[in-house]
């Protein structure tokens, strides 16, 4: 009987601790959640940004401005601070797994620019989503076709790599 009582007490204490823990977590979560009207930019898909995000928020326009002149006038095509890279890294996908254009309010740039009421004309000329997202379907089709073409030719010549290629297509080898 004693053991049962001790067990009961223990369970009650544990439940109590768990409850306090959960409510604490919930309150912390509430405190960190920002108001709805604040911009909430989507997370980038790439790794580290070229600059600390805090700095980037303040200076991205100047960096892009400088970079554009370097690229166009001097042909300096490095990746650092390139708009192409920004767009690739900050692409936002919709439900059908396609990247959204700047017309969609979920677009990375729009999340802040709508809030700040600053109109950007970058996308009058530049594509607002990565090119890869447009070609993915056709590229994938092309690849599989190429592989099959290679396979048939190998079959004809009786190449010894035949089995390896077959396994690659079957997904056994990466």
């Amino acid at each position: 009987m004693k053991i049962v009582l001790i067990m009961q007490k223990l369970i009650i204490t544990l439940l109590g601790v768990a409850f306090i823990g959960v409510s604490l977590l919930a309150s912390v979560g509430q405190a960190s959640a920002q108001p709805e009207w604040m911009p909430n930019p989507p997370k980038a898909i790439g790794g580290q940004c070229d600059l600390d995000p805090k700095e980037m928020r303040k200076t991205h326009m100047t960096l892009l401005d400088h970079k554009r002149d370097q690229t166009m006038r001097d042909g300096i095509r490095t990746k650092k601070y390139s708009l192409k890279k920004c767009i690739a890294c900050h692409a936002v996908k919709d439900k059908s797994n396609k990247c959204v254009t700047v017309k969609d309010e979920r677009h990375f740039c729009r999340s802040c620019h709508d809030y700040a009421a600053v109109r950007i004309d970058c996308f009058d000329c530049h594509a607002s989503r990565p090119e890869d997202s447009l070609n993915k379907a056709t590229k994938a089709a092309g690849n599989s076709h190429d592989k099959l073409a290679g396979l048939s030719s190998i079959g004809k010549t009786g190449d010894t790599t035949d089995t390896t290629l077959r396994r690659f297509i079957a997904g056994e080898v990466k």
């Binding site: 554009r68 370097q70 166009m72 006038r73 001097d74 042909g75 300096i76 095509r77 490095t78 192409k84 767009i87 254009t101 009058d124 000329c125 530049h126 594509a127 607002s128 989503r129 990565p130 090119e131 447009l134 190429d146």
Partner: protein
């Protein structure tokens, strides 16, 4: 005398097969390896420019140019070049010939006395003394140090003076909103555009798209300043012409057999 009439280019009539990019890259990679194996010999044998590092600015050391042999072009060949340019730079015929973009076009020529007919590709001639650069009120129309004439669309106000000034009718104006442009070829409403000599490819040490699509030897791309380049050697050894040489614009694009 050559009169420049706008060629009729019909989409869907291009007979050449799509270029196998992957195959070409592999081949180029292979040849690059060969270069690495015997650097001095191969490089000097062809005198081709070595790829500029991405972080290095272009200089006046090079001046990029083209030699176009009109005798080697059939109508279909020119159309293939046009198609290659469209695919590379993402412009299209939309069935509105009065306002459609036209970076490169087919020009049909006829000698009135002999009835001889032929066609040639016509695009920005990348003049050393470019009239479009002279007239631009904002400095948007500019010449890169390596001779490639471009439009800075960031500061182009769409006044179209350059279109008026160009004797080759090489420039066009973007009338409608465009989406999903090519990453390397931004183009947008209210700005003027023209052939960029595929500057994004040139900076990577590659040839322009039209040169790749043209028949063997019909278009030669290279550095006019490098006397050992294939282009400079050709210009030295065969008779070449400038279109409207009387204007003294010193175009970077030269022609043969016109």
């Amino acid at each position: 005398m050559i009169s420049l009439k706008q060629g009729q280019i019909e989409a869907g009539e291009h007979k050449t097969a799509p270029v196998d990019e992957a195959g070409r890259r592999k081949f180029l990679k292979g040849s690059a390896a060969a270069l690495a194996l015997a650097p001095g010999m191969t490089l000097f044998a062809y005198g081709e420019a070595i790829t500029k590092p991405a972080e290095q600015a272009v200089t006046t050391k090079s001046r990029w140019g083209l030699l176009i042999d009109a005798a080697k072009f059939s109508d279909e060949d020119v159309d293939a070049c046009v198609k290659a340019c469209q695919d590379e730079n993402g412009w299209r015929d939309t069935g509105k010939p009065m306002t459609d973009a036209q970076w490169i076009r087919r020009v049909n020529l006829k000698n009135k006395k002999t009835d001889e007919q032929f066609s040639l590709p016509m695009m920005c001639q990348h003049c050393a003394e470019a009239p479009c650069v002279d007239v631009c009120p904002t400095g948007a129309s500019f010449k890169r140090k390596d001779g490639i004439v471009l439009v800075d669309k960031h500061i182009c106000i769409g006044c179209r003076y350059c279109m008026m000034a160009c004797p080759y009718k090489a420039r066009s104006f973007v009338h409608e909103h465009i989406e999903d442009q090519k990453e390397h070829a931004p183009r947008g409403i209210g700005t003027v555009e023209s052939c960029t000599m595929c500057v994004h490819l040139v900076d990577e040490g590659k040839e322009p798209a039209c040169v790749k699509a043209a028949p063997e030897g019909a278009m030669v791309f290279g550095d006019l300043n490098d006397k050992t380049s294939k282009l400079a050697q050709l210009i030295k050894s065969v008779a070449t012409q400038q279109v409207r040489a009387d204007l003294n614009l010193d175009p970077g694009v030269r022609y043969r057999n016109i």
